[in-house]
Structure formats: C-alpha cells, structure tokens
Amino acid sequence: MTVANLSTPRSHSPIPVEEVTEATIRLAGDSGDGMQLAGTQFMQTSAMLGNDISTLPDFPAEIRAPAGTLAGVSGFQIHFSSTEIHTPGDQLNTLVAMNPAALKSNLKDLEPGGILIVNADAFAAGDLHKAGYSVNPLQDDSLKGYRLFAVSITKLNREAVSELKLSTREADRCKNFFALGLVYWLYERSLEPTLKWIQSKFAKNPSVREANARALKAGYNYGDTTEAMPVHYRVSKAAIAPGRYRKITGNEALAIGLVAASKQANLPLVYSTYPITPASDILHQLAELKRYGVRTLQAEDEIAAIGAAIGASFAGALGVTGTSGPGICLKSEAIGLAVMTELPLVIVDVQRGGPSTGLPTKTEQADLLQAMFGRNGECPACILAPCSPSDCFHIAFEAVRLAVGFMTPVFVLSDGYLANGAEPWPIPDPAKLPQIPVRFAQAHVGGNGTSNGNGETVFHPYERDARLVRPWAVPGTPGLEHRIGGLEKEDVTGNVSYDPANHEHMIRTRAQKIANIANDIPELSVVGPAEGDVLVLGWGGTYGSIVTACQRAQRKGLKVAHAHLRYLNPMPRNTGEVLKRYRKVLIPELNGGQLRMLIRATHLIDAIGLNKIQGKPFLVGEIEAKIAEVLKY
C-alpha cells in the first residue's frame, strides 16, 4: 500500500483542525482490554500515513492480573511526528484510560492541559474501589487541569454493534476499536489500514469482523459528529527518505537479521532457546521460518539451549541462543566452554529488570558486566549492543560476522525496550547485503599437523592465523578428526595441557584474539563538536533519548557531543582518544553505572553517571537536565 492511496476521511464537522509537528498518545486499559492491539494499529496506520514513529508498549508480567486492578494495567504509547524522532516521547498529549486503574497509573505522564479520554461506563463504585479511589475522580475537581472527555464507550460501542446479535461479552471485546476510532478522529487518521487488517484478521468470523469494523467507525463518527471535542489535530507526513518501509520491533529485527546473516554466511541457522520474557518472540518468529532453512529447538532448559547451539556450531552450523538475564546466569558455564573451545556462537540477551526474576516485562541495561565478567576464569567474549529496534537487524548480522570470523561467542545485548518498541524500517535490498566469509578447514591444506604413530597426519585445531583465529574443522571432514573440550589446551595441538607457562600463554592469547576484533570494527564516531565541554557516551537502547537530548543542547549552542557504543567488547580502537577530547564525559545508563565502571577502569577517566533503574527508558528531559548540570561543573 502506498501513502498516496491513504485518504483521511472527509470530515463533515465544523470543528477546526490544528496542525502540530508531533504528538504522543497512550492507550491504557486492563490487560484484557486489547490496548496492545489498538496501539499497534495506531502505530501501523501512522507509519503508513508517513509519520516517523516510536512506540513503547508497557504491560504487566501477569497474563491476566485481576481485572480492574492497578497490577493489570496495560498501556501502549505512540509518538508520531512530521519530523525525525528517536523516542516514544516524554509526556503524553493524549491519554485514553479505559478504567479507573488505567487512569490512576498513567495520569502522571499526561501533560498539563492534555486530552484525557476516559470510558465513563467503567467508573462504577466497584471499579473505583479496585483501583483504590475513594471518590470518583470524574466527579471531583481532581482532573480539572486536563481536558477531560468522559465518553460512554461501553454503552456507545454496544449500540454500534447491537444489530449483530453478539453476546454482551463479545460486543464489549470491540470497545478497544471504538476508542481507537475516536483517537483516529482526534488525530485525523485514515481508517483504511485498520479496516483492511480487520478484514483479514477476522476473515473466518464474519460477525466479529463486522462488529470490530462498526466499532471503529462508530468511534470515529462519535468524534466527528458530536462536537464533544472542540479541536482535532493533524500531524503531517515526515520528510522521510524515499523507499519501501515496514514497521519493525527489536525482536523482529533480531530474528530477521539472524536469518539474513545465515543466508549471507551460507550456514544453516540453529536457534536453540528456552522460553523467557522478553526474548520469546524471537523464537516465535524463527519457528515460523523453517522454509528459510531455520531450525529451532525449544530446549528443556537454558543450559540445554546453549548446549545445543554450541553443538550445532561444532558441527558447522550457525548456533544461536537467545534469552534474558536470568538465562545468561544459567548459561555462564557453557559460554565458558565456547570461549575455551573457540567456537562461533551468538548469545542474544534481551535484558530486563533484575536481579533474580526482577521485572520480567520491564527494560534495564544491567547485564553488561555479567556479559563482560560473569564466568569463571579469565573468559573474554565479544559484546555488541543495538541502539534502536531496527539496529537489532544490523547488530544481529554483525554478531554473526564476528562470531564466525573470530571463532568466538558474541553477545548481543538488546533490552525489553528495544525488543517490544517499534519504528519504521527502510527495507534493505538483499542483493546489497555483504557476504559473510566462512572457511571450513580442509585436510592437507597449509601443512597443518604432525605425523602420528599410524603414519597419519594429525590435525592441529589450535594452529592460529595472524589474527589468532583457529580453524573451524567440522565433523564429517576426512583427515581432520580431533578432540576439543573445556580442559586447558596445549597451544597449536589443542591437546590437554596442565603446563603452567602454556596456561598463561593461552589465557593471554584468548584475550588478545578478542582484542584484535577492534581492528575489524568501525571507529567510534561523534555527533556534535569534535571537542568541547561534554561528551555524552551511551550504549544500547538509550540511543534515542540521548540523541534527542544532545540535539536540543546543540541547538542551544552548547558544546555537547554524543557518541554511542554499539561495540562494548572490544570497544572501538579510538574510544580513549575520543573521550579525552571533552572536558567532561557523561554516561547515562539504565543501571547503576556499569559502562562507567569499564570506562573508568580502562581509560582512567572520571566519567559522570546518570543512572536510572526504574524499568523504564530515559525521558529526554532527564538527560537534558543532567547535561545542564554537568555543564556547570
């Protein structure tokens, strides 16, 4: 579908349309109210209308917490704009609250004077009690600072679908579409993409299909005809580079990136994992891709999951495992085995709030040091971190390139925010993707090996190239029979060795091999002045907030620059040099200061931290305020 085909429904009402550059809305309700679905539709439609978008789904860990309670509130935030944007927005311009609990837990994020649409039918005494309200907030003065629109959504929706003879329960399940229709009117969105989606989604259930379509239209028409709202808004198309787009979440991008990399490396992909929030969607995606040569294994536990991935890599496939922080704990010993045996392996960690079970559905960046050091012995691995949902594609691809190129485990540190957040993605041309070179060892090449008692040549699995990379010799290849394992290896031969000097040599060699990756990755680039007062150094999913805050600071003429690490181990070779060009280095992280600890330890720079550990991404304003503070130092 092209943007040109999408017409905004012609309004019959005299209500004025106000042009705004951007808007942030949130749809909030009970976790059974279909808010994620409605939010996804709004996002999709807005993207297709040509806006730049960024989203933040926020849902509870419980699938169905008791209805109407604060614990069960689910929300979906969409920031859409006629200019380029990088975050889901700090403050809401419009909040839709389908019940008192949703109102209570989301109101604090609504801007003063913001539009507040509530389902007035859900504010009976029982609903209020479950949300902890002693007085109905619609009837006291507590909401007077907002533009409140109390709409009988339940009742109006039931009327809209009454001809279809649905049960009350079935009818009420459409009310998210009524609310969505109203917000579509409010922001002048076309109904077409969602109507089309309803057609295909409910193709086999005509009455449900018709009900949802009617609910959507009824919500729209309510806004258009009742004149309940004095204004509605237009957010024009953004100046986006021409091309074909889709929306993409971080988890989708990771799955697609892994498949693309496996094709470009000409290796079958074996994705072996154990279900865990927020990484499971990667498994769901890949399990559907068997016709792309993808094999998935839902293993019996996290350890088996990585074990099978290591086994697949040993046997010449692309072994990948995915999990979240608690799973990394369980996989640690096996990661050490992959480091010791120097096998390619990609380990996806979609970080969530920790420690322990922590906050399963909330975001955090607190596994960096675990990825760096969370194993016995000196056990270095390569670590990458995507900076946006679509960057998950590039980082997945890069992880595969480095894993097979350097015969090493590579971590991909995504997070819950990137995993579930979405943005438009310019669809790449597969023909332009680089090849990933893979060279399996063959017998009698390069004179590798010595003679054994049978007069045969013994293959040397730890004879390294100039970059210290050992050969990948795959079972089934005649003449390369060899044994590897977790015991210390003798240099070159790979035989078990307890020799003290050999052990130190091997420890240093493994470390140097990982360090050598720095020669094969791009340098750290800076956006903003090449030298100045403050360098804001970020990593991973905080990119959007940091880049926006830095742009605002730069527009004010401040000497503030931004650098973002997508390669955490090794870091780009010019990192130290970049850091020294600024008077102060500010490191915002969704943890207690993990990158800061590494930067301080490695570069002896007294970096300043901005640390937030609330299961939520940074607001742009929080970083802006910290930059202002640091400038005063």
């Binding site: 943007v3 040569g293 394992g485």
Partner: protein, 340 residues
C-alpha cells in the same frame, strides 16, 4: 561423474588417538574403550563421521582416546550438545559418553529430554555407582548404606535405576551390559549403533579405586550365572548355572521359580523387546540383586521417528508447499508502504 571406491574398513587401531590413556590401572573403562573400537570398526561408517561427546568425570575422558571427532564438554550437558550436533548434521554417528554422576545427577534433565525426543544418539552410561574423579563420593546410583567420604555412616538416598529412568522417558532402545563381559558388550554396542533413535546403554563398570567389586556378583565367573539373566528377544526368562531357574509373573510382580516340579519353560515370562508398552521391560529393570537376577541385554527396541527426521520432514513439507524462503519476502513479511 562419480567414482566408486571400495569402502575402507576401519581397524580398531585406526580408531585409537595418539593420547596417553590416564585412567587408573584396572579401570573398567579400558575394556569399554577397547570394545567400542572393535564395535565401530565393523560398522562400515567412515571414521570422520563418528563424533564422541562427553560431560565431566572419569568416563568423560573417553573422547580423547578415540581418533574420531570428539568434544569433552561440561558436567552433565553432553546430551544437549550432542542434540545440537545432530540437529546440524543428521548424517553423523553421534555417541554420548557419560557416567552415573554426569548423566543422572547434574545432567539428569538433559538425559531424559534427549531420550524422549528420540534424537538419533547413542548414549553410553558408565555406571560405577561412585564419583571417581572427585575422589569417592556416593553417586545417584550408589546403593543405600554405601559408605564413602561424603556418606561416612552410609548413604541414605534411594538410588536411581538408569534403565527404569530411560524407560520412563519413553526410550526406544534400552540395554544393559557389563564392562568385562567383552562379547556381550561389543554386541550390545553394535545393536545400539544399528538402532535409529536414542539408544541408551547402561554399562556396569568397576571403579578399582573407590568402589571395587560392587558388581562382583555379576562378574565373578563362579557365581554370575546365578545372578545375571541375559535377555533374548522371544525367549523365556531362564537363568542359572544349570539353566534351571526362571522368572514367572505373579500378578503384577515377577518371581523367581525353579524349573521342574510342574513348572515348565512355558510358564515363564517371555521377553519381548518390541512390545509397544514398556511395562514388562520396566518390571525387568526393577529386578535387583540379591532378590533377583539382574537382566543384561536389550530391554526395549522399538521404532519411532527421530526428532531430527520429523524436523527435517517439516522443513521439506513447508518448502514444498510454500517454496524456499527468500530474504526479500522475509524483509517484507509485515505490512509495507512506500514513501515517495
């Protein structure tokens, strides 16, 4: 154009690696290693197709001594790693070498799941009822009362019975053999190799240092015929030096009976390794010395599609019906739009 060359027949010597063997003198592992080489040499499988994967423990050093592909992994995880090898390369002959601690304690979960999936793996569990490499603690198969450094007053855990466990996990091939019963061991390994699916073999293995003689009743030539019952498919369960004893079913329980005095072979249980239900095999796995003779041989050998076969079949079917996946389709697998 293809060239047919006569398949080189491997000799056991060609399967020996150049590494010095470091098991204790008199260890049962030596015999298992020797019989393994003998069994594999006769299989018409080229050497490079064999992969030996082990965990941690004395038995798990096994791959270092085989001149095949080998992977000495981490404690208990060999079945998981072997699963990955088999997923990537179904054509390889993949052998898991494990022990009672490795396979049944720390790795118990992987063992049962590998078995239930019916991956085409050969899992050989060396059972010496003791932890050897950590110097003599009781293991999950140690008999109640076993006195060790970690159980000075006698172990109080109920031992796991490896065969019962494998049957409980719906194993398609389950067998038991004894380290120094050379012929039986070789034949059992060959049968395991021929099975398509997970073949689980328990080997009674003597630990000379920490648990010497624990299987003496089953290995001492003067008494073993009375304590061991070699299973043979389709044959009644007869044992004893004079072949004058048998196993009869009494209700749901087995009982030892003397042949004669009105009890004939026809009255005895007949072994059926191909029975659909593993109930009788389970019953046999519960027969423990000294009340019963202990069975050796194949308890169960049934056919069920392997995991990797079904997986590959699914892949082939979806490719046949929808075509092989192309990246441009994958990239555009969600709603797309054009910005002009």
């Amino acid at each position: 154009m293809s060239t047919l060359t006569a398949l080189h027949t491997l000799s056991p010597k060609e399967l020996a690696s150049d590494q010095e063997i470091r098991w204790c003198p008199g260890c049962g592992d030596y015999s298992i290693l020797a019989q393994m080489k003998k069994a594999l040499a006769g299989l018409d499988i080229p050497r490079e197709k064999f992969v030996f994967i082990s965990g941690i423990g004395c038995s798990s050093r096994f791959p270092y001594y085989m001149n095949t592909y080998g992977f000495h992994t981490i404690h208990g995880r060999a079945p998981a790693i072997a699963t990955g090898v088999k997923l990537a390369r179904p054509d390889l002959s993949v052998w898991v070498i494990t022990g009672d601690g490795d396979g049944l304690s720390i790795g118990g979960n992987h063992l049962i799941h590998a078995i239930r999936r019916n991956m085409d793996l050969k899992i050989i569990l060396f059972n010496n009822e003791i932890y050897g490499l950590t110097k003599g603690q009781y293991s999950p198969t140690s008999r109640i009362g076993t006195r060790t450094k970690s159980s000075p007053l006698g172990s109080i855990d109920t031992p796991l019975r490896p065969i019962s466990l494998a049957l409980g996990a719906d194993a398609t091939f389950v067998a038991r053999t004894i380290d120094i019963d050379i012929h039986h061991l070789t034949e059992t390994l060959k049968r395991a190799a021929a099975h398509k699916g997970t073949a689980f073999v328990e080997v009674y293995q003597n630990c000379k240092i920490f648990n010497d003689g624990v299987f003496e009743y089953a290995t001492d030539k003067s008494v073993k015929a009375d304590h061991v019952l070699p299973l043979q498919h389709g044959r009644p369960l007869v044992f004893g030096k004079d072949q004058n004893k048998g196993i009869r079913l009494h209700g749901l329980n087995p009982e030892v009976v003397d042949l004669g005095n009105g009890i004939a072979k026809d009255d005895l249980l007949v072994h059926d390794e191909k029975a659909d239900e593993p109930s009788l095999a389970y019953l046999l796995s519960r027969m423990v010395h000294p009340e019963f003779p202990e069975c050796i041989g194949v308890f169960r050998a049934v056919e069920r599609p392997t995991y990797e076969h079904v997986l590959n079949h699914q892949m082939e079917e979806t490719i046949a019906s929808r075509g092989a996946g192309k990246l441009e389709d994958l990239f555009a697998s969600d709603e797309t739009w054009i910005v002009e």
